[in-house]
Amino acid sequence: MRLPWGITVKEVYLAFFAVIAIALCGFIMVIYGQYERVQQSQKYTIYQYENIRQSRMILSDVIDMETGVRGFVMSGQPRFLEPYDKANARLRDEIFALRNQTYYESNSFAETNAWLEQIEAIQTLLAKQVTRVKAQGRSAISSAEMEQEVQQMDRLRTTVEAAVDKRLVLLRQQVELVDRQRNNFLYILIFGAVLGVGILLAGTVLIIRLESEKEKAEDENRRSESRFLAVMNGVNDGLYELNFVNDSMFMSREFKAMLGYDEDELEETAETAINLIHPDDVEGSLEVRRDYITKKTPFYSNVFRMKHKDGTWRWILSRGIGTWDKFGQIRSLIGTHTDISEQKAREEDLRQLNADMEAFTYITSHDMRSPLVNLKGFSHELAIAVHEVNELLEPKKDQIGAPTWAKLETILKHDVPEALGFIGNAVDRMDTLTTAILDLSRIGKYVYHDERVNARDVVDTCLGAQSYEITNKGVEVKVGALPEIVTDRSALEQIFSNLIDNAVKYLRSDEPGHIEITCHETGRDYIFSVRDNGRGIAPEDSDRVFNIFRRARNTGDVRGLGIGMAFVKASLRRMSGAIWFESALNRGTTFYFSLPKKTLEIARPPAEARKAAGTKGGRG
């Protein structure tokens, strides 16, 4: 997973932790607030109940006093005064306690004071009654006084009950509030829990994703590394890292195995490696490395021999990439060693083969010709000699006698010249063949010089060279639109010349000839075609067409050696082109050849030795 704004995984973790911490703090504060409120409402409830209890106790004490006094008044017995005295003694403290309790509650303080007045009035009344009864007897209390007393008592009761009721209402309200708060608290709890779980879940998912991403990346890393290792092992390339700071050199197992050493057998220093390089190659290879280090060359590719443990020399291709510090000083060179001994051996073989080929062509051009000079020369000398003999004998014709003369004449004028003629022809043929071999071998040495060539001009030149034949045979030649291409002019001329020559040469005698030359382009090639309505090539002959000294079997009446197409094919191969044909016997043949599109920028510079061995020869 890619994170936007360049945030790192670590930052995500920290942010996540902060969110959780803040949420937790908030949550704790919410819970604590609730706890405080519950505590407060509890205190309040206790306080209210305490007030109620106190109020009731005061009321009941007052009632006790009244009842005691009434009992005393009615019975006259002092024993009834016992509750009155007790209650009276208690009442004072109780009232004070209540006043203290409700001190902060202004209206209930006033209320309590109002009670106190009433209670004091009742107390005074009762105390007066008690005193009077004690002094004057039970009759001293009038019914009016009793009535007043009852009234006062009722008032007090009503007042206290009202206060209690009010407190009860308050309490109920409080309970309702608490209930509501409890509900709210529950919602907050549920909400908080859901939120917390949500955050936790999101965070966990995020972390899991990040972790799995990381794991995947690590996995990918591991896989690519193992792939790399597998490739390195597979191709058996040795890995090295040359450290220029301390001249140490890491060498992989394959690096050492390539030279026949075990992992612990080579000291990993630059010196070790240099000591293993062939003495003749040390200078050159260091030079190549220096050129790379000083950035004279853009790539490091070095070839040298290194000594194998078994004493043989191995050709090593060393390629690498350097790292430089900011002062342009090389720090390290990391690269691979490839054992190219086999390629080198093959190269050597190839070079040997080429040398052999060169020697062969040289021998062909020189040594095989020498005897031919003799054969030809002396057969001619012989002819001259025979001619002279003939002239010497001629005057002595009569002396020799007719039958002998006739025989001599056959020998001298027929048999010997015929024999010499065959020898001469054979030598000529031999000479042509050796020349052809030589020409073909020289294609490989020809240096192609690319230039802008108008194909139309080239074709016109070739047609001009053939104009005698073309006019003579009444051939109709059509030339389509031909492009300007980048190629070697004389090579193209030879190709067209051979193809047109063949097309003209192998027309049918019974039909007027048509030759058409066209070109079309593909993405990377120009494809030229030369179409004729000539005798065609039999399918069985299709392989012979491009072979040297081979010709199609229906060409016996036309002189030719079977060199031209072999030459064309070899030329085209050198020019990265190709040649092929379509043909139907007695209907005609179309030869196609392709040349790659090129631009002059990549063209080779004009070479000095431009020696093309050009031949025109027969088909096939």
Partner: protein
């Protein structure tokens, strides 16, 4: 009009193939060269002829050399190099007459200082024609080099 046979000169032919030597000799004679022709059939003989180990150095002022390149022991290039590298012999006109027409060989011979390079044609007519013309040339064109006192 230049008198063709006025100046007598010796033709030295280095040629390992006796057939070729015979053909060249005959054709030179048919071409009008009646001068003495010395045949040397190996490279060693050629070197001995021009650089004798003992005896006074010979005067080769009136010598024309016809040199084949392919010789069994010391090849024509070597002989050419030594002749043209030596003050005493470098004025000798050398015509390389050989079977090869390899461009490299031709260039090499001229680089070594040969005066003419001729390929032996296989065709007899062409061959004899060439030799006859060579014979004529030899009689007319003498030593195509700057005179000794100027150069030395």
């Amino acid at each position: 009009m230049i008198e063709p046979y006025a100046a007598p000169f010796t033709v030295v032919m280095v040629e390992d193939d006796p057939g070729h030597a015979a053909l060249i000799r005959r054709n030179l004679q048919r071409g009008g060269v009646i001068n003495p022709i010395t045949l040397l059939s190996t490279g060693t003989q050629a070197i001995d002829y021009f650089f004798p180990e003992s005896g006074a150095p010979q005067d080769h002022a009136d010598t024309v050399l016809m040199l084949d390149l392919n010789l069994p022991d010391i090849d024509g290039f070597e002989i050419l190099r030594r002749l043209k590298g030596d003050e005493r012999t470098k004025m000798i006109p050398v015509v390389v007459l050989t079977t090869t027409d390899h461009p490299k060989d031709i260039d090499r011979c001229y680089a070594l200082g040969c005066n003419a390079f001729m390929t032996k044609p296989v065709g007899y007519e062409a061959f004899s024609e060439a030799i006859r013309k060579l014979g004529l040339t030899l009689t007319v064109v003498r030593v195509p080099h700057i005179s000794d006192d100027q150069h030395a």
